[in-house]
Amino acid sequence: MRGRPHLFTSYEGEQSLLPTWTQRVMLALFLVLLVTIPLQFVPGVQFLGSDSWLLVLNRVMIYAIGALGINILTGLAGQVSLGHAFFMGIGAYTAVVLGAPASDRFWGMGLPIWIWLPAAGIVAAIVGIIVAPTAVRVRGLYLAIVTLGLVFIGEHLFRNLTFITGGAGLGRDWPELAFRFWKEEEPLIDFSSRGPWFGIEFSGAAKTYFFMLVLLILFTLWHKNLARTRIGRAFQSIRDRDIAAEVMGVADAKNKLRAFAISSFFAGVAGALLGALVGRLVPETWNLLLSVQFVAIILIGGAGTTAGTLLGSFFVVAIPRMVEDLTRMLSVQVRTDGPFAWLGDFIIADQGDFGLVSTVANGPGLSIFQTNLALYGFLIIIFLIFEPLGLFGVWIRIRNYWKGWPFSY
C-alpha cells in the first residue's frame, strides 16, 4: 500500500528488489550517471570519462563479474575458495580456442562472440562440476588448500599446453570484442575501436565500457535474484550451518555443487572478457595473486552482498591507479615545493633520502607495484578486524543511523 513500506500484502512485495519509489528513482539516476560517464558532461566525475580511466573502469566491471561469482560461492554458500583464477583461466582459454583464428602454432576456430562468451562460462561451469565432488567433502581451511591446488595444477597446464595458451611468458591474442553473425569480415557492432555510434564519435574504450556495463547489469541482476530464490536461500543456510541446513532438508552436497557451478560460470565469463579486453595475456596471469585479489574484493566490499561486491571491485582495481596518481602528485609537490611537500618528503623515496615509496627504478623504497600488494594485505587485515561486513557494513551503519531517526533503535 502506498506510503506504508512495512506493510506487505504478498510475498512478492516483501521479496521485491526495489520495494519503494525512492529506491527505484535513485537507482535510475545512478544508471543514468553510469551511462553518461563516457560523454563527460556530469560535473565532478568528468575525469572518469577519459580513456585512461575508462580502461580502469572496464577492468573494474570485469573484476566485478568475477567477484560476483566468488561471492556466490564464498559470500552466499560460505565455501572459501582460492581457485577462482583457475576457473577464469578455463573460461579465457575456452574463449581463445573458440574465438581466435587458427594458425599453424595455435588451435582456433574463429567463431563469433555469441558462441565463445557463453561457452567460456559453460565450460568453466562444467569443470566446476567435475571438481566439486572432491571439494565438497572438505570444509574451511582444507577447502582453501584443495582449491589452492587447483591454481597450481592450472598454472602448470596453462604453461605447457602451448597450442592453446601460447606458452609461458608469451601468451597469444584473444578475439576482439565485436559482434558478428558468423565469420564475416566486417563486424556488425564493434566494441573496441574508435568510430561513431548514433552520430556520436566514441573511442574504443568508451564502446567497450557500454558493452561491459550491459553485461555487468545482467550479471548483477542474476546475482541479486539468485540470493532470494530457493537456491540462494539454500546456499545461505549452508553457509550459516551446513549440518543444520541438511537436517532441515537442504541437500548439502547438491547445493555446494550448484554453488561451484554457478560461481565458475561467472568466473569463466570474466576470464574470457579479461582476455578480450587486454588482448594478449600470458599463462601466468591466472595465478594465486589473482585469486587473492578476488578474496580481497569480497572481504573489503562485504561478503554476501551484491552492492558490497561491486564497491569492492572498484576499490581493489582502482587503488593501484589512485596510488600511482597520488605518488605522481606528491613527487610533483616535492619538486615544486607545494603545500603538501612535507607529506611527499615523508612518503616518496628519492635519491638517497628515506621514504616508503620509490618513484625511481631500484630506489630504496617499495615500488608502486609492491606498495599496492602491501596495501591489499593491510586493508584485508584492517577490514577483517574492524569492519567484517566490509564497505557494505559501513554503508549499513550509515543507513541505520538515518533509518532509526529520530531514535537510535
Binding site: 506510503g3 506504508r4 506493510l7 506487505f8 500484502t9 504478498s10 529520530p406 531514535f407 537510535s408
Partner: protein
Amino acid sequence: MSTDMLERSDAGEAGTGYPTVAARVREWAGKAPGQVCMREKDFGIWHEITWGQCWETILDAAHGLLALGVEPGDRVSIHSEDRPEWIVLDMATVAIRGITVGLYPTNPAPEVEYLLSDSGSVVHFAEDQEQVDKVLELPEGSLAHIRRILYVEDRGVRRYDNDRLLFWDDFLALGREHRERDPGAVERLMAEAEADDVMTLVYTSGTTGPPKGAMLTNANAEFSMRKIIETEGRLPDGAPPNPSDQILTYLPLCHVAERIFSTWTMVATGCVLNFAESIETVQTNLREVQPTLFFAVPRIWEKLHAGVIIKSRDATWMKRRLSSWGLKLAERIGDEVVANGGSHTTKSRILYALGYFFLFRPLRERVGLRYCRWAGSGAAPIAPEVLKFFMGLGVPVFELYGMTENAAVATLNFAGRMKLGTVGEPYPDIGFRIDEETGEIQTKHEGVFKGYWQKPEATAETFTEDGWLRTGDVGEWVDGTHVKIVDRIKHIIITSGGKNISPSEIENKLKTSPYIKEAVVIGDGRKYLTALIGIELDTVGDWALRKNLPYTTYRDLSEKPEVIELIQKIVDGVNEQFARVENIRKFRMIPKELDHEDGELTATQKVKRSALEDMFGELIESMY
C-alpha cells in the same frame, strides 16, 4: 463464483428487514465486492479479505449456525483475540437473529464459566488450545447448554477427543452443506430482523460485583453508528470516514469501544480493518499499518508517550539534542493548538513546519501515526498532558465519553471545539443531563440499552424514575457546553475531615510519568491521602540499567531505595499541582505487577480497588 452466489442470495423474498450490521455487510458486498475490508497478518504477510469474500464466509457461518440448531434469540459466545473469524461469527449470529457474547481473551477459567452459564450460550467459539482448555477443564456436566465448541487454531487441539469440539473449517463446510439444502434460510431470517432484537450482550467490566451483560439491540447499534461515526464535525479535515481509511484493530472486540471503532465503523463507512497480531505487537503493527483513524485507551497513549520519551533519551548525542529541541517546540505547538480548540493557528502551523521534516514526520512514522487524521481516547480518564503531547506532535487526539449501557453515545470533543481536560460536548439532539443534587450524568436516547441480561433488579436500579440512564459518573459543566468527568460516584473519597476528593485526577497525573504504571489513591474515611504505586518495569528497568543498578525481580526493583526516591520526586511534583488536602502524604510500592488472572485488574485493565485494598491491607495500614 462469488458474484453469482451473491445474486442468488440477494434474492430475498420478504423485503430486506431492519438494517442490522450484517445487512450492512451484505450491502457493501453487493456494492463493492472486490474492495478490501480486512487484513490479517500471517507469517509476515498481511492477507487481504474483500467484502465479497467476507460476506460469503459470513453466509457460510450463518448457515453453519443454523445447521447446529441455533435459533433467534440464542446466544453465541466468542472467546478469542481479534481476528476476522470474530467478526464473521459476530455478523453471522446477528444475521440469524442470534445474540453475540464476547469474552476477553484474558478471562480466567472461573470467569469464563460464569459468563458462559450466565449468558446460557449454545455455541461457543474458543480460538485456540488455551481458550478451549478453559472450558474443557471445568468439571464434567457443567455448561451442558453449550452444544458445540468451535476452534480455529488446531495446534494442540487436534488430539483432543471430545464430541463437542468442531474445527472452524469443518463448521464452514457444514454451513455450505446447509446452504445448498436451504439456500434462502439466512436471508429469510435477515428479512425478519427487527429494531428491538438484542444483537449482543456486552459484559460490564465488574470493578465491584460480578459482570452484568448489557443487552444492546439493533436499534442501539444503528443509533450509535449514526451518532458517533457519522456525526458531522468529528474529523479535523471534514472528510467523513471512507473506504480509504485504515484502522488497526487491537483492543478486545468484546468491549463496546472497539466494537464501535472497528466493526461498526467498518460496516458503516467501509473502512479497512487491520488486525494486530497481539497486544504486545501493537507498536510494530501500528508502524506497518499507519492507521488513519485510531482509537486507544489511556494506557496505550501513556505507553506510546513513554516510548517516545525514553527512546529519544536513549538516542545518540545529535539525535538527543534534536529531539529535546523538537519536543520543546511540540510543547509550544500543543499549547497553541489546545488553546484553539484542537485546530492549528497560523503560529502553530509555522512552528510545526519548522520541526516537521527533522522531527515530527519521522517521529510520527516511527510511532505509526503519520497518516492519522483522527485519534480518540476513551474508556478511562486520561491525563491532559498526554493528550497535549500528541497534539503538539500533530496527531489530533480527542477525548470522548460513553459507556456500554448507552452504546457509548454521550459526549465527544468535536474538531475545532475541543477543550482539554473535558470529554467534550453532548452529541446534538440526545437526552443528556447532569443531576443537580448528586452531579451524576444521565442520558436518555435511542442508544440506551434494553437492560441487563436476566437481571431485572439491576436494570431497574440503573434507571431513574423518569426513565433516564444513570451512568454512575459524576460530571460537571465547563463553560456551559463541555462536560468534565470528576470520577465514578463509587470512587469519590470522603476524608475524615469531610473533604470530597476525586482520586482519578491525582492518579492520572501520577501515571503521566513514564515510570508509573499503576497508582491507586487511598483515603476514604482517613485523615490524609496515601497511594499505592506500581512501577512500569520496562522504563524503570531501563533507568536502573543506566544508573548501573542491578536488580533481579519486579519486587526487588520496586523496593530499591533509589527507585523509591525516583517515585518520591514524581509524587512531590504532582503534589505541587494540587491543594494541600489533596496531597499524597505517603506512598508504598505495589510489590507485584497487577494482573487480571490474579483478580487485581478487570479484563479492561481497570484496578479493582476493593480487591487491592484487601490484598495490600497491611501495606495500607502501615501508612496510617
